[in-house]
Symmetry: C2
Subunit: 214 residues, 2 copies
């Protein structure tokens, strides 16, 4: 019982910070997306390709990782508005950490803010960061059973990206299983099939993002 | 402050349960391994190939997942001693859950017990389950930067498996980066390069496991 009460109070405090973040983003006219997935599903590569393609839409990124600034370094070639948040042993970003990250950005000059969450299919899905939209990635090498196994992540997403589609044939990936599992838990979100590495399918993703800014 | 104290008390309660699990396994003469990795790195496929190859060593499995019994169903072809533990929203197995799982097994007839943890590179690394050895997997499609980004998982492992090595050339994977990152945080654990799918490299893994039983 005690443990459950603690988790609730942590979530409640987080929600208050998330609401404050959202109000701050609204006031600055910034649309914010929370990108979540397992480690290595291609979040950073996706953003490296996306940010230049969206110009003149001005994009910033908050990058969450346990350690290292490797992702922020990779992204700094696409935009100067990048902040790395190191969580230490923390398995997800919290709204308070995002609030600190927002302090480091000039929101007035941004249109879109991407939050690249810690690579983890579980915990990030339970923590509102103050984003407007949630994007869940699933990469082909992870296997087609992941929607059924991690339903919280995929049921609450506003868009779902199936990434590394260049490996579908090589790995015999069952895209139909993903679609039928999604049909049970989330029929509102588009499924965008793409390969950030080759560029295949990214136009649909960019069009979806442009639709959020208009 | 409050949050930190709570985490410590949760960990302390978990450690007591873990010690009790280990004593119970020791008494039954069962060697227990905790397998940890990101989702889709090949843990279940690895065990499907490993269990028959190790005969006459008798193997059991506790499988952790948020939802579904898919992994337990896959493993039940290799051994009848399989227990699925569904964690709901829980991002890792706890020692208390493993204790309940042990109740469902006839430990007297087992030599090796594999615990397949929830697919997650972060939280499982902080929770002792009562295992004797910790095995961390990294699959090639996840990218070569993961050892540096998730050091807790890899620094405490007794063996590290680089899986899906059949994709090294296709993806241009930098195995040397993995080795140099490991050289900084864990020089004791062997790095076993293998492909559970093709069988390549599994002999070294099986030999390492047999060494634990003798």
């Amino acid at each position: 019982m005690k443990k459950i009460r603690v988790v609730e109070s942590v979530l409640k405090a987080n929600d208050a910070n998330a609401d404050a973040n959202r109000a701050r983003l609204d006031e600055a006219g910034v649309v914010c997306l929370n990108l979540m997935s397992a480690p290595g599903s291609g979040k950073t590569t996706l953003l490296q390709k996306t940010i230049p393609a969206l110009a003149p839409v001005a994009c910033g990124v908050l990058v969450g990782d346990l350690q290292t600034t490797r992702d922020a370094e990779r992204l700094s070639e696409a935009t100067s508005d990048v902040v790395q948040i190191n969580t230490g042993r923390g398995c997800h970003l919290s709204a308070a950490q995002v609030s600190n990250g927002l302090d480091e950005l000039d929101l007035a000059k941004l249109d879109l803010l991407f939050i690249e969450n810690v690579g983890n299919m579980v915990c990030p899905a339970s923590f509102d960061l103050g984003e407007h939209f949630r994007v869940a990635l699933l990469s082909v090498p992870e296997g087609a059973d992941k929607v059924a196994k991690y339903p919280t992540l995929y049921s609450n997403a506003n868009a779902i990206l199936l990434t590394k589609t260049d490996l579908v044939d090589i790995l015999g990936f069952d895209t139909d299983l993903v679609k039928s599992d999604l049909a049970r838990i989330n029929t509102a979100a588009p499924l965008i099939e793409c390969s950030p590495q080759t560029g295949e399918g990214l136009d649909s993703w960019h069009d979806w993002l442009r639709g959020l800014c208009s």
